[in-house]
Symmetry: C2
Subunit: 596 residues, 2 copies
């Protein structure tokens, strides 16, 4: 069975030493968010992850969810774990204290989520979906809706879902057909079928609050005629007690490659009572609020699975003995050396490590921007932070899931044949990770979002929030001898990013397919530069700590070594990506559709 | 359920137009191997693949193999399909007619195998393992052993296995412990435990002929004390009838990520009667004969799964409607365009296609070399062909499985969320493909074989069989205006390969870890250049056909378009690989083992 130890030292390095979240205490509501609280929250959540959730991960995968007569039963142990989790106040950690949540910074809640996902990604989808519903109701709900739903969601008494996809439409929501007929009492009768609804039905909560996209009778076609509705599984009486069962039922659950303990449901709505949330026909906007947070959350899944896969691959590589070091036996008294002596095993472990720690830095930096976007006293700083988060959301989502999938596969590979056997648990990480590249918008959709929306938005305003600070960093540190080995390759990669950004801007104007064909490679190049920036930033802190003397020299030395690996072995991919992008759309689009 | 149509047109293009296998008719035993026979064999095997094997692929995965009381039951339908397959004479198609086989060229048998694997990889492992046993006995067995075993193996009355791995040793076979005690009658008593034995026990054949590596009492330690034994499940009487049950039994089967209809067995040998095959203590050499053929066979699995994944992804992309073409609606009368209009979907399909067709060309070229190595009248030509096959075996194995896994994942990705659901079958291709990067030597081991054995062998003699023809091709075609667009990028990539080959030769001499750390990147670079050479060769034939006029212009035009895609979008990776390789071993090896 895989083991897991929450990477607390690295999380505190990132949160405190790199991001300096201590400064968040100046923001409204975060006065208590100092080092002690951070340590306490991280330490407690590590315990839950390691002791409560991890032991259910493999058994949950084996057992899967069961469906019979409209009822979904989660795997053994999930109910008790969910109660522990909910009663600990871990749901919606960064939510509004007025409704019973903890009001902690989102960046801290993100670190907590990472642990929960590493330990049991399938389990984490249930509170994750609740957090999505909380986000939508908090941002777009009426005061009465907030009062009715938020406290029970925060307590984990009620579950939540997002209902977007229908059999004939996933990416292209403009095609959606679920209907909402206005009733005399102000509610709507919702009718339609939704598919791929995570946590659509389960036995963990007394009620489930579905957030459903539907089209009000007579609304415009396309995405401009879509509204968002609250559809509770059980209607809620005026006094907050549960009333009649609503006209929504789970028709079946999917048999999936992985994430088997997370129920993926077909949801049938038949004259179900729904309550409009936000304005009519503005449902897509409301849904995007949820979706952006969800996209960062999916990026986090890629990262979190990479972390646990890395830990287990490293442990196995230290134990498993096969062959001898190329430089001569490392353990001559043993029949063979541990496989960690082999350069190719090292290459795999270093790749995983460089991705995981770099990805964590990038993701937490983005999460911090979301805190600042909500809370900073300065309006311009809020806007800048929001721009940064908007720009980085697709980059984080696609890069961390695509590289995360590569990383968990490297973890499996370190195990050799044993990795292919269910027992070791490594193949589960691969199966679980595979969905992250797909749901909440495939990697290809993220790339289009970056190239088609985020780059051109406000004539490049978002982009400046990434380019300018990076440029400043390079200017500031160019002459710093301690950082030259990191700054030089990063500057070269950044130059490539600037060149292809200009190329796409120019060529894409003439022919949108140039931008479309370049999008995936462009996002990857962007992601690598963003990871490079994160690594150079970490290297700066580590070099400073080492220069000023520290009892933790091995930690900072390892940081520098991993930063060197990233620059030497991962960042050079930017050269190939630039060549691919500037080779243009013609080779991609040349074949007629019938020729495939 | 996935569909499959054998790619007969491309196979005939490769075999007849590119490789010119008609010329094989000059070789002993191949006089009949002309166009008519090729067409007949390919056509018949396509039917078996499409009609008999494909329908059992998904059901076989769902059902898996069952184990109870030492007995393994294959999924429903496998027994009948195996009888059809065996009675059709498809086992050991290229085997010796003296023992009842068809004696066809190996290159043709390889094309046939591709279809079987595409349709049902798990099923194909049973005849595949029989072919391995046939190979070992044909090459190393005594005349009596050949008479006893080969005819029944060719008929599929008996199964075969390869027993290498033990719980504590896979890659490092020098550690193996299975013992062989000589008996007075010349046989040996074999005792030990083998794991990960494909087809170790099943219900498809009356007997199973295990080929087992073991150490004769008193033999030297390490790989020089290993011998190969034949250990039949049922002993064979002098008259060929089955005798007593031997002391070998299946202890359990593994629960695996994929390939679930192929039984992966723990095999317990307890005083089992074994017969030495070949010389004592030379078992590793004999096993390598089998392993090289098996490695090419595994490369073929990567390719074959990519083919079926491609076919289904392309079909889905033509049908599924989401969004609109970036250049404006392609089907304005429909609510949305098929997703094949989207450049990012095209990118995925073209990548799969360029890999699959290029991989097929590379693999069949290697298979042809194996025919020539066995049959060419000229001794020097035989040696050259053998050198080529020896060099390319690790390249084919690792490149076609690593890129094959990427390709099937792209196939899944084209399906979006539906790809993650078992029903569509795309995720099965991913689970099945994942083992190919591991068994018969991981990709990392292939890379070490290439860099550590094949490059330095006979002071670079093997390498010349790849470098010289490629160099000649580039010289010959440099001035050919029809091929300039293919020759120029290939020449640049080849220059990179030459540079890093020299770099590894020099640096690896000083420090073997330089070679070890570069190995995986080097193999990938080598593989891309080899695919590039294959594509340029195909482009040459296609350009000539088009120039001379042909009724099949769309086929050849598509070839050229796909060749262009490969050169523009896949070959540029060589630049990044060169940078990574020459960044050296230091960044890979810097961390202490305890720091992971």
């Amino acid at each position: 069975m895989p083991s897991y130890r929450a990477p607390l030292r690295d999380m505190r390095f990132q949160l405190e030493e790199v991001l300096g979240i201590e400064s968040l205490r100046n923001l409204p509501g975060f006065a208590d968010a100092g080092g002690d609280l951070v340590a306490a929250v991280l330490g407690e959540s590590a315990k839950i992850a390691e002791e409560v959730l991890l032991p259910l991960n493999q058994s949950g995968d084996r057992e899967g969810c069961r469906f019979a007569d409209g009822v979904v039963t989660t795997p053994a142990g999930f109910r008790a774990a969910f109660r522990t989790f909910a009663e600990g106040g871990w749901i919606g950690l960064s939510g509004d204290p007025d409704y019973g949540a903890q009001g902690l910074p989102y960046v801290l809640a993100t670190a907590v989520s990472e642990m929960m996902i590493s330990a049991n990604m399938a389990f984490s989808t249930y509170p994750g979906l609740i957090a999505g519903a909380i986000e939508a109701i908090s941002r777009h709900g009426s005061a009465a809706q907030k009062r009715t739903y938020l406290p029970r969601l925060f307590k984990g008494e009620w579950g939540g879902t997002m209902n977007l996809t229908e059999p004939h439409c996933g990416t292209d929501l403009g095609l959606l057909r679920t209907r909402a007929e206005p009733r005399a009492d102000g509610s709507y009768a919702i009718t339609g079928t939704k598919i791929f609804i995570s946590a659509g039905e389960h036995d963990l909560t007394d009620n489930i609050i579905h957030l459903v996209l539907a089209r009000i009778a007579g609304a415009p076609a396309g995405t401009r005629g879509i509204s968002l509705f609250i559809v509770p599984k059980y209607l809620v009486n005026g006094d907050g007690t549960l009333g009649a069962r609503n006209g929504v039922a789970c028709g079946s659950i999917e048999h999936k490659m992985g994430l088997r303990a997370s129920a993926t449901c077909v949801m049938n709505y038949e004259d179900a009572t729904g309550f409009l949330i936000g304005e009519a026909n503005r449902g897509m906007r409301a849904m995007f609020t949820m979706m952006n947070a969800a996209r960062i959350g999916v990026g986090l899944q890629g990262l979190a699975l990479s972390e646990i896969a890395y830990q287990n691959a490293a442990a196995y590589a230290r134990e498993r003995r096969q062959g001898r070091a190329l430089t001569g036996p490392a353990f001559p008294d043993q029949p063979a050396d541990p496989i960690i002596v082999h350069p190719d095993v090292r290459r795999m472990l270093m790749t995983m490590r460089a991705f995981t720690e770099g990805g964590r830095a990038l993701l937490l930096r983005t999460a911090l921007a979301i805190d600042l976007a909500h809370k900073d006293a300065d309006a311009e700083a809020r806007r800048d932070a929001e721009d940064y988060a908007a720009l980085l959301t697709p980059v984080v989502k696609a890069t961390l899931t695509d590289l995360g999938f590569e990383s968990v596969n490297l973890g499996l590979q370190c195990f050799g044949g044993a990795g292919y056997i269910r027992e070791t648990g490594m193949e589960q990480f691969v199966r679980d990770a595979r969905i992250t590249q797909i749901y909440e918008g495939t990697s290809g959709i993220q790339a289009l979002d970056l190239v088609g929306r985020k780059l051109p938005a406000h004539t490049g305003r978002y982009l400046r929030q990434f380019f300018h600070p990076l440029d400043r960093f390079l200017q500031d540190e160019m002459a710093n001898p301690a950082l030259k080995e990191f700054v030089s390759p990063l500057a070269r990669a950044f130059a490539r990013l600037q060149q292809v950004t200009a190329w796409i801007g120019e060529e894409g104007l003439k022919d949108p397919e140039q931008a479309g064909a370049a999008a995936a490679d462009y996002l990857r190049l962007f992601g690598l530069v963003a990871l490079g920036h994160a690594w150079a930033g970490m290297a700066k802190v580590a070099a400073e700590r080492l220069a000023s003397g520290t009892a933790e020299a091995p930690f900072y030395t390892a940081k520098l070594a991993t930063a060197r690996f990233f620059m030497a072995k991962m960042l050079p991919d930017t050269a190939a990506l630039q060549a691919r992008i500037t080779a243009g759309a013609a080779p991609v689009m040349a074949l007629a559709a019938e020729a495939f």
